[in-house]
Symmetry: C2
Subunit: 195 residues, 2 copies
DNA sequence: GCTCACCTTGGGCGTCTGCCCAACACTATA
DNA sequence: TATAGTGTTGGGCAGACGCCCAAGGTGAGC
């Protein structure tokens, strides 16, 4: 079949390995993901992992960066200068409703943050990823006249991840509960503010 | 020596195992902590781990709960009804300055949060721990007249952990940078607020 | 037909893992 | 002095680990 060259099938297997790895990281934890488990889930021989990737660590790094890039890329499109604060806050809360703190995506993010503490290359890639995300948020806040937009954006992004982090241990931390509080952050832009 | 009975020395070894485990968790990651590594750092034979603890998981659980209990217990004492908001925010920021996101304590907390997703007993214990912490914060906020004190306390606690989480990837996220933003959360208690 | 490059397999290597256990040291009681 | 209870050691077991590699399969270009 000319539609499926050897190289193309190779790329497909590589993709399946990345998907399998991204699934296993939240399930068993970063350090507990093994070459054999990834290969089994991807439906390929165990040796293939080290054909397509230099090491397990490299596979996990690629997998996590790929997933996070896709997810974070979806958000900035909602941020245009004429987007109301309600829409933005609602969007972030919708994200919070999707991610309970014990779901695969939340855990994948946390595992990635944690792994980046022991993997300099991963830290650099995630750092760049979050920079882009914060930049979009900062620009939107600045256009709205919010004080200290960069710092507010940073705290807002951190708060969302923090809520995600705490949520598994505090089910009452629902989106509707935190909405008014978070809105306080983006609303009172013209208030006095002591340095 | 009567000052050191067999039982007392046993308790001391058990304590050393807990300390060694609490050190190793941030260093190598939860799943990568092994009985032999803990025993070596504690300066005892490898078999002792399973004498004092049912399993490695049990050891890690005890270690992490002990450390977190001690650290969280220090905070509520600063919260009395006559404590000014400045002092409280300054106290939380001091905590942020101590914990850079890549230090042992920050990593230990994150590892614990993550591990609790796969360990029901640990989740219950951490949940209880954070409940107490939030209760103290809620009571203080309520006494100050802050709107939605429970929700604000939850978001505040989550924001601190979130900032810690992001900090390793964003060195500019200093305490002085986020201070005015966080203060916004506790300050404007009498503003209009849409539910 | 052949070569060549790429992909894939399954097994093997040495190392590490959690957990177990027989043997031993020590103290307190009888 | 004998006995019992507690703490401790180091080795052993079966299994899993990361990584490697010889061998084989399969299409593209000559």
């Amino acid at each position: 079949m000319s539609a499926s060259t050897s190289a193309e099938r190779g790329a497909e297997v590589r993709r399946r390995l990345l998907v399998a790895a991204a699934e296993l990281i939240p399930e068993v934890g970063w350090h507990a993901v093994s070459t054999r488990a990834v290969a089994e889930r991807a439906g390929v021989g165990a040796g293939l992992v080290h054909y397509h990737f230099r090491s397990v660590q490299s596979l996990l790094r690629h997998a996590v960066v790929e997933v996070m890039t896709q997810l974070l890329a979806e958000f900035p499109r909602v941020l245009s200068t004429d987007t109301s604060e309600d829409v933005v806050v609602r969007e972030m809360l919708a994200a919070l409703d999707d991610y309970s703190g014990t779901d695969a995506t939340s855990l994948l993010f946390m595992e990635a943050y944690l792994a980046s503490a022991r993997d300099e290359q991963l830290r650099a890639e995630l750092s760049h990823l979050l920079d882009d995300f914060r930049s979009a948020l900062t620009a939107w806040l600045a256009a709205r006249g919010t004080r200290a937009p960069a710092e507010t954006a940073a705290v807002l992004a951190a708060a969302v991840d923090g809520v995600m982090l705490h949520r598994a241990l505090h089910p009452g931390l629902t989106a509707t509960a935190v909405a008014p509080v978070l809105r306080r952050l983006v609303s009172h832009s013209t208030e006095r503010e002591q340095g």
